[in-house]
Assembly symmetry: C2
Homo-oligomer: 197 residues x 2
């Protein structure tokens, strides 16, 4: 939601919030997640750090806003996490498809994935998107060894993203959501909770 708050403004009338967001995006892109501070973003936008906190919350929140995607993955994942590990593979996938199959949301997500693949935004995925945005949610669903299980889950979900939405292989695009859930959900569950070699 926050990422959309500047909508409705007329072009040419940028507001302080948009300037802070632009400064944040530039900083995350240039200095990475760990190299970015609220203080430096505030200085770059010419505002008080308290205003950045007021608009965006924590650095994690600022990062999610800077992604400029129409959903906050942490909010989307919250109910999946709350329901616990039993059946989490299928729930995770059903929730995922609810977001990604939505034609209002999909283009922004595909654009983000293309940007991640094509340039050094990849560093932000390694340093922030997985550890900060989705890692904690997934880690709370695994039986043990999150450092091995979370990347395995991510690998299958990323493969689904690329084949269904980015490269859009016809049989994967045409597969009904419930078939995707029935076919890939058990694999996610396997990675989350089955014995790990």
């Amino acid at each position: 939601m926050t990422a959309r708050a500047s909508r409705g403004r007329r072009p040419g009338a940028p507001d302080t919030r948009a300037e802070v967001l632009a400064a944040a995006r530039a900083s995350f892109a240039e200095k990475g997640f760990r190299g970015t501070t609220i203080r430096a973003v505030a200085a770059s936008a010419g505002v008080d750090p308290a205003l950045v906190h007021h608009y965006f919350g924590t650095k994690d929140d600022l990062f999610v806003a800077a992604l400029q995607i129409p959903v906050d993955p942490r909010e989307v994942l919250a109910p999946v996490v709350a329901a616990g590990p039993d059946g989490a593979g299928e729930r995770l996938l059903r929730t995922f498809l609810g977001v990604w199959d939505d034609p209002e949301v999909q283009p922004a997500l595909v654009a983000l994935v293309r940007s991640i693949m094509s340039d050094d935004t990849g560093a932000l995925v390694r340093d922030a998107f997985i550890p900060v945005v989705i890692g904690p949610a997934l880690a709370s669903l695994v039986a043990d060894r999150p450092e091995a299980r979370v990347p395995l889950v991510v690998s299958q979900v990323v493969g689904l993203i690329v084949t269904r939405y980015v490269v859009a292989i016809p049989p994967m695009v045409a597969m009904p959501a419930e078939e995707v859930v029935a076919r890939i959900g058990p694999v996610l569950q396997h990675y989350l909770t089955d014995d790990l070699p």
Copy 2:
């Protein structure tokens, strides 16, 4: 091998073979796999179609050469296919890692994947790479319904490519090859031969 045959030539001394390959790459990029003919590539390079056949073989072979990757995936997959569906998941993955983990080969493959994600080369993956280059090999390993199983296998392998090589998530990069085989191999086997919902 063929894609490397022009190596060793001095810069500024392009040969006919390289001109044919450049014409082929331009045609595949502009007109797609189905829109490309040996005849049109030959005309564009100013040579006889027979010479294109002589240098590159069939249109499928020309496409593989135009990918400019240091391996022919069809040759790599041949022994996996020959050994049949039993244990194919782990063999497929071990063979895959043998190629992708090779530091001599990996950069060209990663560059190809980035190009596929970032622009319309994606159409070539849909129209040629999967149906022509890897689809037939995988289809010969499935229990039934290749149109559903092959994309599922591809989805997990693509996710591995992105997380281990392109975005390079640290725990996936650090995972020893035999652990990758032991953890993801059974999932590929599941997609190839287990009952499909």
